[in-house]
Amino acid sequence: MSDVYVLGVDMIKFGRFPDRTVPNIGAEAALMALDDAGLTIKDMQAMYCGNLGQANAMVGQRILQEIGQTGIPVVNCANACATGATAFREAWMSIKAGIYDVVLAVGVEQMGKGLLGGAGGGDGIPKEGLLGSGTMPCVFAEAGMEHSKDHGTTFEQFAKISVKNHHHSTMNPKAMYQIETPLDVVMNAEMISYPNTKLMCSVNVDGSAAAVLVSEKKAKELGMGRAVRVKASALASDPFTDRDLVMPDVNACTRLAAEQAYEMAGVGPEDINLVELHDCFATAEMLHYENLGLCKDGDAGKMIDEGHVELGGKVPVNVSGGLLSKGHPLGATGIANIYEVCTHLRGEAGERQVEGARLGMTHVIGLGTACGIHILEKV
């Protein structure tokens, strides 16, 4: 089977674009990725499009209606917060399978503001605030509190993650925000769901990201100069765990996908130079240090306390600013984090460049549950 390469990849600066349409926002990133690859829509043999909010509305085809209707097959994907990664992985699989040599993957979302989630729908009466809370800040707070219970992790340690990611975002012009948020500011921000304050919740933004994936044959033909090798692609659903159906288990699903990704890539966590992981809430990032094997179980608090996950540390995490500050347009996030890692592997990340980066990992997890992990390698 052919190795698969990212030849072009880009994202728009995340923000709020209420006057634009979803396809229009997606089209912008698609064109940027094509330009980055030095190709045109005429060169694409298929398109995989990730979007959640309009999952039944043919977003991929509507993007082509804005940038070029060539008649190629289009698949629209929805997989919660793993939507973008799923579209990317479908594109990767189509090349792995030998069906295509040049494929476009796009992720796009228009979000609006406000709380996501909510307990129980359906008949009868609203369940939110009656049977606990199904809001995302609460669900991920409960997951974080499980870590506090087992390992004594503190509110302050969770808050430090937000300080770090906001700091990183000051070096990323494509992030929604570029604002320093000192520890006292994070901890004294409005408490949403303990221990997640408002600054420890990801930012709902509009955004898009896209990638052009090619076969090895095509990469050699077009020039490998800035190509990035997709060393592993893994996607897992939630394996049965005792509480999973009541309390979504983001840990087991991530561990399963991580194990598969490391095995496919033939590398271990110690080989990874940077990670873009799913910090939808500060509590979530803490869990994934361990889930991705970046440290031993129980040592996640030390990872943040000792600076190992900061730019310049042993394994910088979310140097883009992460979902906490770069923003989290659900369907775009999985490709936006691939853009970030590729940018470092290409040595083009400017002020926030992870020096000497050779291997990077991206991770997203959508409740329900889907976890997508990619390992990318400098060529």
Binding site: I125, G129, G132, K149
Partner: protein, 137 residues
């Protein structure tokens, strides 16, 4: 409109005689306990081994959050709790009769179920609902 309160969720049972209780569905092969009816076990995949059981009234607090912001119209703060029931089954609900202060809530604390009106919430037809809550045991 029903004269009696209706159950807020399908797994809350209100018998004609006797007290309300939570119903679980237990796999006869592997022992996994689920909320809601099903015929296949998602843990061990066996079919037609699931039977209804009455869940125990007591359990321990596994995890929680204190919710300070919810959707408009929802009273805050409140404690959203994940409880492992004695005898199997995990249930999520509000933990009441305790100060909603993270410092004052202990992991592993013993809690028990209590059944009360669903915070005055009514459906479109004006029906009242009975719900379940946890309180310190």
């Amino acid at each position: 409109m029903s004269e009696k309160s209706l159950p807020a969720v399908s797994y809350l049972k209100i018998p004609d005689k006797g007290d309300p209780y939570l119903e679980g569905h237990k796999c006869g092969k592997c022992g996994a306990v689920f909320l809601g009816e099903r015929s296949v076990c998602s843990k061990c995949f066996s079919r037609d081994k699931i039977s209804a059981i009455k869940l125990e009234e007591t359990g321990v607090l596994h995890s929680f959050s204190v919710v300070y912001r919810s959707f408009p119209g929802i009273d805050v703060p409140y404690v959203s709790a994940i409880v492992d029931l004695d005898g199997g089954g995990t249930v999520k609900g509000n933990l009441i009769n305790i100060e909603p202060d993270p410092e004052k809530i202990d992991f592993g604390m013993k809690v028990k179920l209590t059944y009360q009106d669903a915070l005055g919430r009514k459906d479109k037809e004006g029906n009242s609902y009975l719900s379940y809550f946890f309180e310190p045991a």
